[in-house]
């Protein structure tokens, strides 16, 4: 019985692939030198700001690196990783990709910053904030799709919630109440979606698309009919203040990134953790996952499939509602037409990239947020790349990550299918 340890057949193709990837990485490393090095001068440095204006964190010195030396080092890291992969093979494709991406982005930053300076911590903290609405949208997707209900109407839910929240907050003069209304509004729209797809078995994608179209219409309608004329009375709520968490916000680097944000950002991080715990460590999560994978099995064990789906979709809607709240109360304190600007769809992409898993979805959103704030910094730094191409970066990076690292994402087995109880 030699079969148990057998691994011969698979290696042939894998070996070829490994050599190819290794060679590509070496080429990339050398290419980085050719790409970034030429127009730099020997003495040039790049300065990365490590402190944030107005932050409570203990000040630390800014990071000043010599351009040429660091470019050589980072390129060599990529070459070395490539060579190592060729010779031995790196087990985790994520680690491989991570190191190479880090080195490449680092080199790119050094190149773009040569002779100038920019705030690295600012970029990182802005990554988290920019990731927030995306992550909330993705989390809404995760929780409802784990119970096998696809919700493509997240964009619309966020839009409606954003408007409801700001109007409520302005009228009641209470941000907290506004947030509550926004969240409840998200839950309400999601409940309609759930009702349509569960009770009337409307195609889930159709219902979502309809919600998006409807939401764009109704919010613009209300906006142009009422909010324009009476912006002061209806559309001027102010925003949540930044909350500095005592002690933690004093930690350099980490403090300004994680512990000096407004309540929406904290809630988002909290939801990631809570959702992870709920999904994998509580009875409700067990039932949710069972309903998403094999609803019939759950049903035969007395789990009320419909109830689980309703609750999850509605909770998801409330999370998306919070995402909507981010846009108004959490950011600018007013509503403007189609202000969500496609973040809901990007959230869906993050959910898929994150493999229908709260932490994965959060990380995918972070990657997107990072790419987004990176491109903004690059625009400000006046790199010789047209801004349109910089602005493409988040989308391109998502595609590359999805293709190269994630590949085939596997949705919950029953995702998108209505359940027939008989």
């Amino acid at each position: 019985m030699a079969a148990e340890t057998l691994s011969l057949p698979a290696t042939e193709a894998a070996q070829r692939k490994r050599l190819l990837i290794g060679a590509l990485l070496i080429a990339l490393g050398l290419g980085m030198i050719l790409l970034f090095l030429p127009d730099s001068e020997a003495e040039q440095t790049a300065k990365f700001g490590m402190n944030l204006v107005g932050s409570a964190a203990i000040k630390i010195p800014d990071l000043v690196v010599p351009v040429q030396a660091s470019l050589y080092i980072l390129s060599l890291v990529v070459v070395f990783v490539g060579a190592f992969h060729m010779a031995r093979g790196v087990r985790s494709s994520g680690a491989l990709f991570g190191i190479v991406a880090l080195a490449f982005v680092g080199a790119f930053l050094v190149w773009a910053t040569k002779g100038k300076s920019f705030s690295l911590i600012g970029m990182l903290s802005s990554s988290l904030v920019r990731a927030t609405p995306i992550a909330l949208a993705a989390l809404c997707g995760v929780i409802s799709e784990r119970a096998a209900v696809v919700n493509i109407g997240i964009e619309g839910i966020m839009l409606i919630s954003a408007q409801a929240a700001v109007v409520a907050a302005t009228v009641t003069k209470s941000l907290g109440l506004g947030m509550l209304i926004g969240i409840l509004m998200g839950g309400l729209i999601a409940a309609i979606h759930a009702f349509l797809v569960i009770r009337f078995k409307v195609d889930q994608i159709v219902s979502g698309v309809a919600i998006n179209i409807f939401a764009a219409g109704i919010t613009s309608f209300i906006s142009s009919k009422y909010l324009q004329e009476q912006g002061d009375l209806l559309n001027n709520s102010g925003t949540f203040p930044i909350i500095q968490i005592p002690l933690l916000s004093r930690i350099p680097i980490l403090g300004p990134i994680f512990f000096e944000n407004n309540i929406v950002v904290y809630l988002m991080m909290l939801i990631v953790i809570v959702m992870h715990i709920v999904l994998y460590y509580t009875p409700w999560g067990l039932r949710t996952r069972a309903v998403g994978e094999h609803p019939k099995a759950a049903d035969t064990l007395g789990v009320n499939v419909f109830f689980v789906r309703y609750v999850n979709v509605i909770v998801g809607g409330m999370i998306a509602g919070l995402g909507g709240v981010y846009f108004t109360l959490g950011s600018v304190g007013r509503f403007d037409e189609i202000m969500t600007a496609g973040k809901g769809f990007i959230g869906l992409a993050a959910m898929i990239s994150g493999n229908w898993n709260p932490i994965g979805a959060f990380l995918a959103s972070l990657i997107f947020g990072f790419a987004d704030s990176l491109q903004v910094k690059m625009q400000i730094l006046a790199t010789p790349i047209p801004w349109q191409f910089l602005a493409m970066a988040p989308y391109l990076i998502t595609m590359v990550v999805l293709t190269g690292v994630i590949g085939r994402a596997i949705p919950p087995a029953a995702d998108g299918q209505p359940y027939e109880k008989q």
Binding site: T282, P283, E293, Q422
Partner: protein, 521 residues
């Protein structure tokens, strides 16, 4: 003492079908009551009603003498009724523990899952009833036999004392069946009562205290094993006298049509499922591949038909090698494939029947001129095959999904057999069919063999393998344990091989009954 369970006048109609027609059934404490009937006789419907999955149109249920209202599985569970479903109700991506606790979760701090406690309880149950299983394994990694144990543990965990087992032996080796029977007897001895649903006469005779036979949704009668013979039971079940033997001619094999040498195949998840298999099938013979489901047969067939890539080894079909050959190219060499999962592979359920008849041949000059489909030719072809293969359908334009399982299978058989073929790969060709359809398909397969087609028959129904094959190969964990001439095989010896044991001496000593082997029910 009243029976623990009594069903009175249960009636349930589905659109177009009266699935249960005033059925009565009672179950005494400590009894194994077998519910016997063909597929579609209404057994599963009845049990689903009992378990609260379907709502009956009429009738009452009494549990321990009291009238019970069972609206959903929770009610059934509360009444101590547990069910092991024919299609396992297990979530593949979860562990044994998670599957067992689903719905009745143990909690720690009132909030979090207490996996350890449940796992300990599972171990206890394993010990008590001899159902060995590792609580921390994922279901998807477990063989089906073990999965069934998990199903039984699930029921016992909920402290059910009325157990319903729906066709539980389909996925087991003869030895495992024996083991299961032992477990069931020990359960009964400990005071549980069991309803055992099956269509296999021999199991009924071996296990039952009483037998109730269903046919076309009606109760035919309730008997005890001592009162009846298998022949009589078969007649009750089918509604006519049934010939329990297959008669077949001596095979005249000629040159090899399929040669497999040292084949390795990985399944869809990348695990090696077939590990170094070698055999050949010659024109004019049937090579049966026996084995418990999930031992690599599926992947073997997929590799031979181009649905899965070959990792290593050589396969030659009619003398030509295949390597990364497409399903289309293999098909065009004269290979027909009756797939294991007819709804997933064999048919496009939403397509009308006429399109399903040309699923593999729609591009033939007969059916398509250039790009244009020749609808007339397609309709004519369908009309011809419907008549020739006796497919019961209102028209050739209804979607395949509207046919019964037997007729769906006939559509596949008709399509595959109507082409000029040299090699037939038939996987579970009669699974879930009624006796009439089984008879029909068996005869067709033998007819093909006699016309000189090479046939690779894969079945987990050992009786079917023994009835049809000229030689029998037994697969276990991705390897072929042995290939024996059918004439020398016995159920016991094959059963041992299916469990991976190679009883050389037992094998050779087996008695033979050439030409006549008992059929399966």
């Amino acid at each position: 003492m009243p029976p623990v369970l009594e069903l009175r006048n249960i009636t349930k109609a589905f659109p177009g079908v009266l699935a249960n027609d005033h059925i009565n059934l009672d179950l005494n404490e400590g009894e194994i009551h077998c519910l016997l009937g063909e597929n579609g006789a209404g057994k599963t419907t009845l049990m689903n009603i009992l378990y609260g999955l379907y709502k009956p149109d009429e009738g009452e249920i009494y549990v321990r003498g009291k009238k019970a209202e069972i609206h959903d599985p929770n009610d059934a569970i509360a009444l101590g009724i547990g069910m092991v479903h024919q299609h396992f109700m297990l979530v593949p991506v979860m562990t044994v523990t998670e599957n067992v606790m689903l719905g009745v979760e143990e909690k720690r701090y009132g909030l979090f899952l207490d996996r350890a406690k449940v796992a300990a309880r599972i171990r206890e149950l394993s010990q008590l009833y001899g159902l060995e299983v590792d609580p921390n394994r994922y279901i998807k990694d477990l063989p089906v036999g073990i999965q069934q144990r998990v199903e039984i543990i699930k029921v016992l965990y909920r402290q059910a004392d009325i157990l319903i087992l729906d066709e539980p032996t389909a996925v087991l080796t003869p030895q495992e069946v024996e083991g299961l029977f032992k477990v069931l007897r020990s359960l009964v001895a400990k005071g549980k009562s069991i309803i055992f649903i099956t269509h296999k006469l021999k199991e009924v005779m071996a296990l039952a205290d009483r037998i109730t036979v269903l046919r076309n949704g009606r109760t035919v009668g309730t008997v005890t094993p001592s009162e009846v013979t298998p022949e009589k039971l078969a007649a009750m079940m089918v509604g006519r006298e049934v010939n329990l033997v297959v008669s077949k001619q001596e095979a005249h094999p000629t040159e090899p049509a399929l040669e497999v040498k040292d084949l390795y195949v990985a399944d869809e998840r990348g695990n090696l499922a077939v590990r170094g298999v070698s055999f050949d099938v010659r024109l004019g013979e049937i090579l049966g591949i026996a084995g418990v489901q999930g031992n690599g047969q599926t992947e073997l067939v997929y590799a031979l038909t181009g649905l899965l890539p070959i990792q290593a080894g050589k396969v030659r079909i009619l003398g030509q090698p295949i390597r990364s050959t497409s399903p289309r190219a293999i098909l065009e060499r004269g290979v027909a494939h009756v797939p294991e999962d007819r709804q997933r592979h064999g048919l496009i359920l939403s397509f009308p029947i006429h399109d399903n008849f040309v699923l593999c041949t729609y591009f033939w000059p007969l059916f398509a001129r250039g790009l244009r489909l020749q609808e007339k030719a397609i309709y004519e072809n369908a009309q011809k095959l419907v008549e020739q293969f006796d497919v019961r359908t209102p028209s050739i334009f209804v979607p395949a999904s509207s046919l019964s399982g037997g007729n769906q299978q006939k559509v596949i058989v008709a399509r595959e057999f109507s082409r000029p073929i040299r090699l037939l790969i038939a996987s579970q060709p009669t699974r879930g069919l009624d006796v009439g359809s089984i008879e029909y398909i068996h005869n067709r397969i033998l007819e093909k063999r006699d016309q000189g087609t090479a046939i690779l028959l894969v079945s987990s129904e050992l009786d079917e393998i023994m009835a049809l094959s000229d030689r029998i190969a037994v697969m276990y964990r991705g390897q072929i344990v042995d290939i024996v001439p059918a004439a020398q095989a016995t159920k016991e010896s094959i059963g041992l091989l299916m469990a991976g044991i190679h009883p050389d001496e037992a094998m050779k000593a087996a008695p033979t009954r050439p030409g006549e082997v008992e059929r399966v029910f």
